[in-house]
Symmetry: C2
Subunit: 257 residues, 2 copies
Protein backbone atom coordinates (compact mmCIF):
# COMPACT_ATOMS: atom_id res chain seq x y z
CA UNK A 1 0.00 0.00 0.00
CA UNK A 2 0.94 3.66 -0.22
CA UNK A 3 1.68 5.37 3.07
CA UNK A 4 1.92 9.07 3.86
CA UNK A 5 3.83 9.77 7.06
CA UNK A 6 3.33 13.32 8.28
CA UNK A 7 6.06 14.05 10.77
CA UNK A 8 6.16 17.13 12.98
CA UNK A 9 9.12 17.55 15.32
CA UNK A 10 11.75 20.30 15.35
CA UNK A 11 14.69 17.98 16.09
CA UNK A 12 15.77 15.03 13.93
CA UNK A 13 17.84 13.64 16.83
CA UNK A 14 14.72 13.22 18.96
CA UNK A 15 12.73 10.13 19.89
CA UNK A 16 10.09 11.30 17.41
CA UNK A 17 12.84 11.44 14.81
CA UNK A 18 13.76 7.84 15.61
CA UNK A 19 10.12 6.83 15.32
CA UNK A 20 9.93 8.46 11.90
CA UNK A 21 13.05 6.66 10.68
CA UNK A 22 11.79 3.38 12.06
CA UNK A 23 8.41 3.78 10.40
CA UNK A 24 9.97 4.49 7.01
CA UNK A 25 12.38 1.56 7.28
CA UNK A 26 9.79 -0.88 8.60
CA UNK A 27 7.01 -0.04 6.16
CA UNK A 28 9.36 0.16 3.17
CA UNK A 29 10.91 -3.12 4.23
CA UNK A 30 7.45 -4.68 4.27
CA UNK A 31 6.98 -3.70 0.64
CA UNK A 32 4.94 -0.53 1.08
CA UNK A 33 5.62 2.73 -0.72
CA UNK A 34 6.26 5.42 1.90
CA UNK A 35 6.06 9.17 1.38
CA UNK A 36 7.16 11.51 4.17
CA UNK A 37 6.01 15.05 4.81
CA UNK A 38 8.63 16.33 7.25
CA UNK A 39 6.87 19.56 8.17
CA UNK A 40 9.76 21.17 10.05
CA UNK A 41 12.18 20.01 7.38
CA UNK A 42 9.98 21.52 4.69
CA UNK A 43 9.55 24.76 6.62
CA UNK A 44 5.86 24.15 5.99
CA UNK A 45 3.72 27.28 6.28
CA UNK A 46 1.33 26.54 9.15
CA UNK A 47 -0.94 29.53 8.69
CA UNK A 48 -4.07 29.17 6.54
CA UNK A 49 -4.80 32.38 4.68
CA UNK A 50 -4.70 34.21 1.36
CA UNK A 51 -1.38 32.56 0.43
CA UNK A 52 -3.24 29.23 0.16
CA UNK A 53 -4.64 30.03 -3.29
CA UNK A 54 -3.18 31.48 -6.47
CA UNK A 55 -6.45 32.95 -7.75
CA UNK A 56 -9.21 34.41 -5.61
CA UNK A 57 -12.96 33.97 -5.78
CA UNK A 58 -13.38 37.19 -3.82
CA UNK A 59 -10.51 39.67 -3.85
CA UNK A 60 -12.16 41.92 -1.30
CA UNK A 61 -12.90 39.57 1.58
CA UNK A 62 -11.00 36.38 2.37
CA UNK A 63 -13.27 33.50 3.39
CA UNK A 64 -11.15 30.37 3.82
CA UNK A 65 -13.83 27.81 2.99
CA UNK A 66 -15.07 29.64 -0.09
CA UNK A 67 -11.56 30.22 -1.41
CA UNK A 68 -10.65 26.58 -0.81
CA UNK A 69 -13.76 25.48 -2.70
CA UNK A 70 -12.90 27.84 -5.54
CA UNK A 71 -9.30 26.66 -5.65
CA UNK A 72 -10.43 23.03 -5.71
CA UNK A 73 -12.56 23.74 -8.76
CA UNK A 74 -9.90 25.78 -10.54
CA UNK A 75 -6.85 23.75 -9.58
CA UNK A 76 -5.62 26.92 -7.92
CA UNK A 77 -4.12 25.79 -4.63
CA UNK A 78 -0.73 27.20 -3.73
CA UNK A 79 2.04 24.78 -4.80
CA UNK A 80 2.97 23.82 -1.23
CA UNK A 81 -0.62 22.71 -0.62
CA UNK A 82 -1.04 20.93 -3.96
CA UNK A 83 2.07 18.83 -3.32
CA UNK A 84 0.62 17.69 -0.01
CA UNK A 85 -2.84 17.10 -1.48
CA UNK A 86 -1.35 14.88 -4.17
CA UNK A 87 0.41 12.77 -1.55
CA UNK A 88 -2.71 12.65 0.61
CA UNK A 89 -4.96 11.59 -2.25
CA UNK A 90 -2.57 8.78 -3.19
CA UNK A 91 -2.16 7.36 0.31
CA UNK A 92 -3.99 4.27 1.56
CA UNK A 93 -2.62 4.85 5.05
CA UNK A 94 -2.08 8.23 6.70
CA UNK A 95 0.30 8.22 9.67
CA UNK A 96 1.00 11.15 11.98
CA UNK A 97 4.12 11.17 14.16
CA UNK A 98 4.33 14.06 16.62
CA UNK A 99 4.90 15.09 20.22
CA UNK A 100 1.63 15.85 22.04
CA UNK A 101 1.79 19.49 23.09
CA UNK A 102 -1.04 20.93 25.17
CA UNK A 103 -3.30 17.89 24.73
CA UNK A 104 -3.09 18.32 20.95
CA UNK A 105 -0.76 18.39 17.97
CA UNK A 106 2.02 20.93 17.32
CA UNK A 107 0.77 24.00 15.46
CA UNK A 108 2.71 23.10 12.32
CA UNK A 109 0.71 19.87 12.05
CA UNK A 110 -2.59 21.60 12.82
CA UNK A 111 -1.68 24.06 10.08
CA UNK A 112 -1.11 21.21 7.66
CA UNK A 113 -4.69 20.10 8.42
CA UNK A 114 -6.11 23.63 8.19
CA UNK A 115 -4.53 24.14 4.77
CA UNK A 116 -4.42 20.69 3.12
CA UNK A 117 -7.75 19.27 4.34
CA UNK A 118 -9.34 21.89 2.13
CA UNK A 119 -13.06 22.35 1.58
CA UNK A 120 -13.89 21.07 -1.88
CA UNK A 121 -10.89 18.75 -1.93
CA UNK A 122 -10.80 16.75 1.32
CA UNK A 123 -14.49 17.23 2.16
CA UNK A 124 -17.55 19.18 1.23
CA UNK A 125 -21.22 19.25 2.11
CA UNK A 126 -22.45 15.69 1.83
CA UNK A 127 -18.98 14.18 1.62
CA UNK A 128 -18.17 13.66 5.29
CA UNK A 129 -17.95 10.82 7.82
CA UNK A 130 -18.80 7.46 6.25
CA UNK A 131 -19.60 9.27 3.00
CA UNK A 132 -16.29 11.11 3.14
CA UNK A 133 -13.56 11.44 0.53
CA UNK A 134 -11.23 9.06 2.39
CA UNK A 135 -13.59 6.18 3.13
CA UNK A 136 -11.84 2.85 2.76
CA UNK A 137 -8.51 4.35 3.81
CA UNK A 138 -6.84 4.17 7.19
CA UNK A 139 -5.26 6.74 9.50
CA UNK A 140 -3.33 6.46 12.75
CA UNK A 141 -1.80 8.81 15.29
CA UNK A 142 1.55 8.00 16.84
CA UNK A 143 2.70 10.45 19.47
CA UNK A 144 4.91 10.97 22.47
CA UNK A 145 4.13 12.74 25.69
CA UNK A 146 5.97 13.37 28.90
CA UNK A 147 3.03 12.67 31.22
CA UNK A 148 2.59 9.17 32.65
CA UNK A 149 -0.25 7.04 31.33
CA UNK A 150 -2.02 7.19 34.71
CA UNK A 151 -2.71 10.90 34.21
CA UNK A 152 -4.76 10.08 31.10
CA UNK A 153 -6.77 7.15 32.44
CA UNK A 154 -10.55 7.67 32.64
CA UNK A 155 -10.22 9.16 36.14
CA UNK A 156 -6.80 10.67 35.48
CA UNK A 157 -5.82 14.22 36.35
CA UNK A 158 -5.71 15.15 32.66
CA UNK A 159 -8.92 13.41 31.64
CA UNK A 160 -9.45 10.24 29.66
CA UNK A 161 -7.04 10.07 26.72
CA UNK A 162 -9.80 8.80 24.43
CA UNK A 163 -11.75 12.00 25.14
CA UNK A 164 -8.62 14.13 24.71
CA UNK A 165 -8.17 12.54 21.28
CA UNK A 166 -11.80 12.94 20.20
CA UNK A 167 -11.28 16.28 18.43
CA UNK A 168 -8.52 14.74 16.30
CA UNK A 169 -9.92 11.24 15.86
CA UNK A 170 -13.47 12.35 15.17
CA UNK A 171 -13.20 15.99 14.16
CA UNK A 172 -10.35 15.59 11.68
CA UNK A 173 -9.85 11.97 10.63
CA UNK A 174 -13.25 10.25 10.88
CA UNK A 175 -14.98 13.40 9.64
CA UNK A 176 -13.27 13.12 6.26
CA UNK A 177 -13.96 9.39 6.08
CA UNK A 178 -10.86 7.66 7.40
CA UNK A 179 -11.05 4.40 9.29
CA UNK A 180 -9.16 5.50 12.40
CA UNK A 181 -6.83 2.93 13.91
CA UNK A 182 -6.09 2.82 17.64
CA UNK A 183 -3.33 5.32 18.42
CA UNK A 184 0.24 4.40 19.26
CA UNK A 185 1.10 6.32 22.41
CA UNK A 186 4.59 6.59 23.89
CA UNK A 187 4.34 7.81 27.48
CA UNK A 188 6.96 9.44 29.65
CA UNK A 189 9.69 9.30 27.02
CA UNK A 190 11.93 12.01 28.57
CA UNK A 191 12.20 9.98 31.76
CA UNK A 192 12.41 6.30 30.83
CA UNK A 193 16.01 5.86 29.71
CA UNK A 194 17.67 4.18 26.74
CA UNK A 195 16.54 0.61 27.32
CA UNK A 196 12.87 1.51 27.62
CA UNK A 197 13.12 3.78 24.59
CA UNK A 198 14.58 0.91 22.60
CA UNK A 199 11.77 -1.36 23.79
CA UNK A 200 9.25 1.27 22.75
CA UNK A 201 10.75 1.40 19.25
CA UNK A 202 10.45 -2.38 19.05
CA UNK A 203 6.82 -2.18 20.15
CA UNK A 204 6.23 0.35 17.36
CA UNK A 205 7.94 -1.85 14.79
CA UNK A 206 5.70 -4.78 15.71
CA UNK A 207 2.62 -2.58 15.54
CA UNK A 208 3.54 -1.28 12.09
CA UNK A 209 4.02 -4.81 10.80
CA UNK A 210 0.50 -5.77 11.84
CA UNK A 211 -1.16 -2.48 10.92
CA UNK A 212 -3.03 -3.83 7.92
CA UNK A 213 -4.99 -6.14 10.20
CA UNK A 214 -5.85 -3.58 12.88
CA UNK A 215 -9.51 -3.13 13.74
CA UNK A 216 -10.56 0.54 13.38
CA UNK A 217 -12.21 2.53 16.15
CA UNK A 218 -15.99 2.83 16.09
CA UNK A 219 -17.78 5.98 15.00
CA UNK A 220 -21.50 6.14 14.44
CA UNK A 221 -22.42 5.72 10.77
CA UNK A 222 -24.76 8.12 9.01
CA UNK A 223 -27.56 5.61 9.44
CA UNK A 224 -27.42 6.29 13.20
CA UNK A 225 -27.89 10.06 12.75
CA UNK A 226 -31.08 12.06 12.47
CA UNK A 227 -31.11 15.89 12.43
CA UNK A 228 -27.45 16.09 13.48
CA UNK A 229 -27.99 13.81 16.49
CA UNK A 230 -28.05 10.14 17.32
CA UNK A 231 -31.45 8.82 16.39
CA UNK A 232 -33.73 7.74 19.24
CA UNK A 233 -32.87 4.22 20.27
CA UNK A 234 -29.25 4.45 19.16
CA UNK A 235 -26.99 3.85 22.15
CA UNK A 236 -24.01 6.26 22.24
CA UNK A 237 -20.91 4.13 21.66
CA UNK A 238 -18.01 6.57 21.24
CA UNK A 239 -15.91 8.68 23.64
CA UNK A 240 -17.54 11.88 22.37
CA UNK A 241 -21.23 11.12 22.59
CA UNK A 242 -23.45 10.40 25.56
CA UNK A 243 -26.92 11.00 26.95
CA UNK A 244 -25.84 11.87 30.46
CA UNK A 245 -25.69 15.18 32.26
CA UNK A 246 -23.39 17.90 31.05
CA UNK A 247 -20.78 19.22 33.49
CA UNK A 248 -19.63 22.45 31.85
CA UNK A 249 -22.26 23.62 29.38
CA UNK A 250 -26.00 24.15 29.57
CA UNK A 251 -27.89 21.14 28.32
CA UNK A 252 -30.26 22.80 25.92
CA UNK A 253 -30.00 24.46 22.56
CA UNK A 254 -29.31 28.09 23.31
CA UNK A 255 -27.45 29.53 20.32
CA UNK A 256 -28.51 30.95 17.02
CA UNK A 257 -29.28 27.67 15.33
CA UNK B 1 -8.78 45.05 34.99
CA UNK B 2 -6.23 44.34 32.29
CA UNK B 3 -7.44 42.23 29.39
CA UNK B 4 -5.43 40.43 26.73
CA UNK B 5 -7.50 39.60 23.65
CA UNK B 6 -5.78 37.09 21.40
CA UNK B 7 -7.45 37.25 18.04
CA UNK B 8 -6.85 34.77 15.23
CA UNK B 9 -8.68 35.29 11.96
CA UNK B 10 -7.22 36.00 8.50
CA UNK B 11 -9.86 38.57 7.52
CA UNK B 12 -10.62 41.79 9.40
CA UNK B 13 -13.95 42.12 7.57
CA UNK B 14 -15.20 38.85 9.08
CA UNK B 15 -17.65 38.18 11.88
CA UNK B 16 -14.67 37.31 14.06
CA UNK B 17 -13.24 40.71 13.17
CA UNK B 18 -16.47 42.35 14.30
CA UNK B 19 -16.35 40.38 17.54
CA UNK B 20 -12.81 41.58 18.14
CA UNK B 21 -13.76 45.22 17.55
CA UNK B 22 -16.80 44.87 19.76
CA UNK B 23 -14.78 43.31 22.58
CA UNK B 24 -12.20 46.09 22.50
CA UNK B 25 -14.85 48.83 22.44
CA UNK B 26 -17.04 47.22 25.10
CA UNK B 27 -14.29 46.37 27.56
CA UNK B 28 -12.47 49.68 27.06
CA UNK B 29 -15.77 51.49 27.48
CA UNK B 30 -16.29 49.67 30.77
CA UNK B 31 -13.00 51.07 32.04
CA UNK B 32 -10.75 48.09 31.41
CA UNK B 33 -7.33 48.28 29.80
CA UNK B 34 -7.38 46.11 26.68
CA UNK B 35 -4.36 44.75 24.84
CA UNK B 36 -4.84 42.92 21.54
CA UNK B 37 -2.61 40.30 19.99
CA UNK B 38 -3.85 40.17 16.40
CA UNK B 39 -1.93 37.08 15.35
CA UNK B 40 -2.61 37.35 11.61
CA UNK B 41 -1.98 41.08 11.73
CA UNK B 42 1.33 40.49 13.50
CA UNK B 43 2.33 37.74 11.09
CA UNK B 44 2.97 35.77 14.26
CA UNK B 45 5.33 32.82 13.80
CA UNK B 46 3.22 29.78 14.68
CA UNK B 47 6.02 27.24 14.70
CA UNK B 48 7.79 26.45 17.99
CA UNK B 49 11.45 25.71 17.39
CA UNK B 50 15.03 26.97 17.65
CA UNK B 51 13.94 30.52 16.71
CA UNK B 52 12.12 30.74 20.06
CA UNK B 53 15.31 31.45 22.01
CA UNK B 54 18.29 33.75 21.49
CA UNK B 55 20.77 31.61 23.43
CA UNK B 56 20.78 27.83 23.59
CA UNK B 57 21.23 25.48 26.52
CA UNK B 58 22.19 22.72 24.11
CA UNK B 59 23.46 23.74 20.67
CA UNK B 60 23.55 20.17 19.43
CA UNK B 61 20.03 18.93 20.12
CA UNK B 62 16.93 21.09 20.32
CA UNK B 63 14.59 20.09 23.15
CA UNK B 64 11.74 22.59 23.33
CA UNK B 65 10.98 22.25 27.04
CA UNK B 66 14.61 22.43 28.12
CA UNK B 67 15.33 25.43 25.91
CA UNK B 68 12.21 27.21 27.15
CA UNK B 69 13.28 26.59 30.75
CA UNK B 70 16.75 27.89 29.97
CA UNK B 71 15.39 30.96 28.20
CA UNK B 72 13.07 31.68 31.13
CA UNK B 73 16.06 31.68 33.48
CA UNK B 74 18.27 33.75 31.19
CA UNK B 75 15.65 36.16 29.85
CA UNK B 76 16.52 34.76 26.46
CA UNK B 77 13.19 34.33 24.70
CA UNK B 78 12.97 35.62 21.14
CA UNK B 79 11.54 39.16 21.09
CA UNK B 80 8.23 38.11 19.51
CA UNK B 81 7.65 35.70 22.39
CA UNK B 82 8.79 38.09 25.12
CA UNK B 83 6.34 40.75 23.93
CA UNK B 84 3.49 38.26 24.21
CA UNK B 85 4.69 36.93 27.56
CA UNK B 86 4.75 40.46 28.97
CA UNK B 87 1.15 41.03 27.88
CA UNK B 88 0.11 37.62 29.20
CA UNK B 89 1.73 38.15 32.59
CA UNK B 90 0.02 41.53 32.97
CA UNK B 91 -3.48 40.35 32.05
CA UNK B 92 -6.19 39.60 34.60
CA UNK B 93 -8.44 38.27 31.84
CA UNK B 94 -7.31 36.31 28.80
CA UNK B 95 -9.78 36.24 25.91
CA UNK B 96 -9.46 34.18 22.73
CA UNK B 97 -11.48 35.08 19.64
CA UNK B 98 -11.21 32.60 16.77
CA UNK B 99 -13.07 30.48 14.25
CA UNK B 100 -13.25 26.82 15.31
CA UNK B 101 -11.44 24.82 12.63
CA UNK B 102 -11.40 21.04 12.87
CA UNK B 103 -12.85 20.96 16.41
CA UNK B 104 -9.96 23.14 17.59
CA UNK B 105 -8.25 26.49 17.19
CA UNK B 106 -6.49 27.78 14.06
CA UNK B 107 -2.84 26.73 13.90
CA UNK B 108 -1.61 30.29 14.40
CA UNK B 109 -3.35 30.37 17.79
CA UNK B 110 -2.11 26.92 18.75
CA UNK B 111 1.36 28.14 17.83
CA UNK B 112 0.94 31.12 20.13
CA UNK B 113 0.25 28.62 22.93
CA UNK B 114 3.12 26.32 21.95
CA UNK B 115 5.58 29.22 22.00
CA UNK B 116 4.29 31.67 24.63
CA UNK B 117 3.02 29.21 27.26
CA UNK B 118 6.66 28.32 27.76
CA UNK B 119 8.00 25.85 30.30
CA UNK B 120 9.65 27.82 33.08
CA UNK B 121 7.54 30.90 32.37
CA UNK B 122 3.88 29.88 32.11
CA UNK B 123 4.25 26.60 34.04
CA UNK B 124 6.79 24.21 35.42
CA UNK B 125 6.85 21.10 37.56
CA UNK B 126 4.77 21.85 40.61
CA UNK B 127 3.26 25.01 39.18
CA UNK B 128 0.21 23.65 37.37
CA UNK B 129 -3.57 23.48 37.81
CA UNK B 130 -4.69 25.19 41.03
CA UNK B 131 -1.03 25.79 41.89
CA UNK B 132 -0.40 27.27 38.46
CA UNK B 133 1.18 30.57 37.48
CA UNK B 134 -2.18 32.08 36.46
CA UNK B 135 -4.31 31.18 39.47
CA UNK B 136 -6.68 33.98 40.37
CA UNK B 137 -6.92 35.09 36.74
CA UNK B 138 -9.68 34.34 34.26
CA UNK B 139 -9.75 33.05 30.69
CA UNK B 140 -12.53 32.62 28.15
CA UNK B 141 -12.91 31.24 24.65
CA UNK B 142 -15.12 33.01 22.15
CA UNK B 143 -15.43 31.27 18.82
CA UNK B 144 -17.52 30.86 15.72
CA UNK B 145 -18.39 27.70 13.87
CA UNK B 146 -20.48 26.85 10.88
CA UNK B 147 -22.09 23.73 12.35
CA UNK B 148 -25.44 24.02 14.11
CA UNK B 149 -25.54 23.66 17.88
CA UNK B 150 -27.48 20.39 17.59
CA UNK B 151 -24.41 18.68 16.11
CA UNK B 152 -22.47 19.39 19.31
CA UNK B 153 -25.12 18.41 21.86
CA UNK B 154 -24.25 15.42 24.08
CA UNK B 155 -25.69 13.00 21.52
CA UNK B 156 -24.75 15.17 18.54
CA UNK B 157 -23.04 13.88 15.43
CA UNK B 158 -19.85 15.75 16.35
CA UNK B 159 -19.81 14.80 20.02
CA UNK B 160 -20.57 16.89 23.07
CA UNK B 161 -19.06 20.37 22.74
CA UNK B 162 -17.88 20.29 26.35
CA UNK B 163 -15.81 17.20 25.53
CA UNK B 164 -14.56 18.77 22.30
CA UNK B 165 -13.36 21.75 24.36
CA UNK B 166 -11.72 19.67 27.10
CA UNK B 167 -8.23 19.71 25.52
CA UNK B 168 -8.31 23.51 25.41
CA UNK B 169 -10.22 24.23 28.62
CA UNK B 170 -8.36 21.69 30.73
CA UNK B 171 -5.15 20.98 28.83
CA UNK B 172 -4.20 24.59 28.14
CA UNK B 173 -6.09 27.04 30.35
CA UNK B 174 -6.89 25.22 33.60
CA UNK B 175 -3.53 23.45 33.48
CA UNK B 176 -1.67 26.74 33.88
CA UNK B 177 -4.04 27.88 36.61
CA UNK B 178 -6.71 29.99 34.93
CA UNK B 179 -10.26 30.08 36.16
CA UNK B 180 -11.97 29.13 32.90
CA UNK B 181 -15.22 30.93 32.16
CA UNK B 182 -18.01 29.31 30.14
CA UNK B 183 -17.26 29.77 26.44
CA UNK B 184 -19.11 32.15 24.15
CA UNK B 185 -20.09 30.12 21.11
CA UNK B 186 -21.52 31.59 17.91
CA UNK B 187 -23.12 28.84 15.86
CA UNK B 188 -23.93 28.72 12.17
CA UNK B 189 -22.66 32.23 11.46
CA UNK B 190 -22.22 31.77 7.68
CA UNK B 191 -25.91 30.94 7.34
CA UNK B 192 -27.87 33.12 9.73
CA UNK B 193 -28.02 36.48 7.97
CA UNK B 194 -27.43 40.08 9.05
CA UNK B 195 -30.14 40.40 11.69
CA UNK B 196 -29.09 37.29 13.57
CA UNK B 197 -25.43 38.31 13.35
CA UNK B 198 -26.32 41.67 14.85
CA UNK B 199 -28.26 39.94 17.63
CA UNK B 200 -25.26 37.70 18.27
CA UNK B 201 -23.01 40.75 18.63
CA UNK B 202 -25.44 42.21 21.15
CA UNK B 203 -25.46 38.93 23.06
CA UNK B 204 -21.64 39.11 23.16
CA UNK B 205 -21.70 42.71 24.36
CA UNK B 206 -24.00 41.81 27.24
CA UNK B 207 -21.82 38.84 28.15
CA UNK B 208 -18.67 40.98 28.20
CA UNK B 209 -20.33 43.51 30.48
CA UNK B 210 -21.11 40.83 33.05
CA UNK B 211 -17.90 38.86 32.65
CA UNK B 212 -16.43 39.85 35.99
CA UNK B 213 -19.29 38.10 37.75
CA UNK B 214 -19.22 34.88 35.72
CA UNK B 215 -18.88 31.64 37.64
CA UNK B 216 -15.88 29.61 36.37
CA UNK B 217 -16.13 26.02 35.18
CA UNK B 218 -15.24 23.29 37.65
CA UNK B 219 -11.96 21.39 37.51
CA UNK B 220 -10.83 19.03 40.23
CA UNK B 221 -8.43 20.71 42.65
CA UNK B 222 -5.12 19.13 43.62
CA UNK B 223 -6.71 17.94 46.85
CA UNK B 224 -8.85 15.55 44.77
CA UNK B 225 -5.83 13.96 43.08
CA UNK B 226 -3.70 11.06 44.24
CA UNK B 227 -0.98 9.50 42.05
CA UNK B 228 -2.18 11.37 38.94
CA UNK B 229 -5.78 10.15 39.38
CA UNK B 230 -8.91 11.12 41.22
CA UNK B 231 -8.61 9.84 44.74
CA UNK B 232 -10.94 7.01 45.76
CA UNK B 233 -14.27 8.46 46.80
CA UNK B 234 -13.96 11.55 44.61
CA UNK B 235 -16.83 11.62 42.14
CA UNK B 236 -15.72 12.66 38.62
CA UNK B 237 -17.34 16.05 37.95
CA UNK B 238 -15.83 17.33 34.70
CA UNK B 239 -16.39 16.53 31.00
CA UNK B 240 -12.98 14.83 30.79
CA UNK B 241 -13.04 12.42 33.70
CA UNK B 242 -15.22 9.42 34.41
CA UNK B 243 -15.18 5.93 35.88
CA UNK B 244 -17.20 4.28 33.15
CA UNK B 245 -16.15 1.98 30.35
CA UNK B 246 -13.80 3.18 27.67
CA UNK B 247 -15.01 3.04 24.07
CA UNK B 248 -11.81 3.48 22.07
CA UNK B 249 -8.82 2.62 24.25
CA UNK B 250 -7.94 -0.34 26.44
CA UNK B 251 -8.88 0.31 30.04
CA UNK B 252 -5.65 -0.61 31.73
CA UNK B 253 -2.19 0.85 32.00
CA UNK B 254 -0.28 -0.61 29.10
CA UNK B 255 2.47 1.85 28.20
CA UNK B 256 5.94 2.47 29.47
CA UNK B 257 4.97 4.27 32.63
Amino acid sequence: MKVLLVYAHPEAKSFNGSMRELAVATLSGAGHEVFVSDLYGLGFNAVAGPADVVTRKNEGVFNLGLEQMHAAGEGAFAPDIQVELDKLMAADLLLFQFPMWWFSMPAILKGWIDRVFAFGAAYDFGRTWDKGVFTGRRAMLSFTLSAPEAAFLPDGRNGDMERVLWPIHAGILALVGYSVLPPFISHGIPFVGEAAMHAELERFRARLLSIEGDEPLFFHPSADIRDYRLAPGVEPATPGQHRGTRKHLPGTISGLR
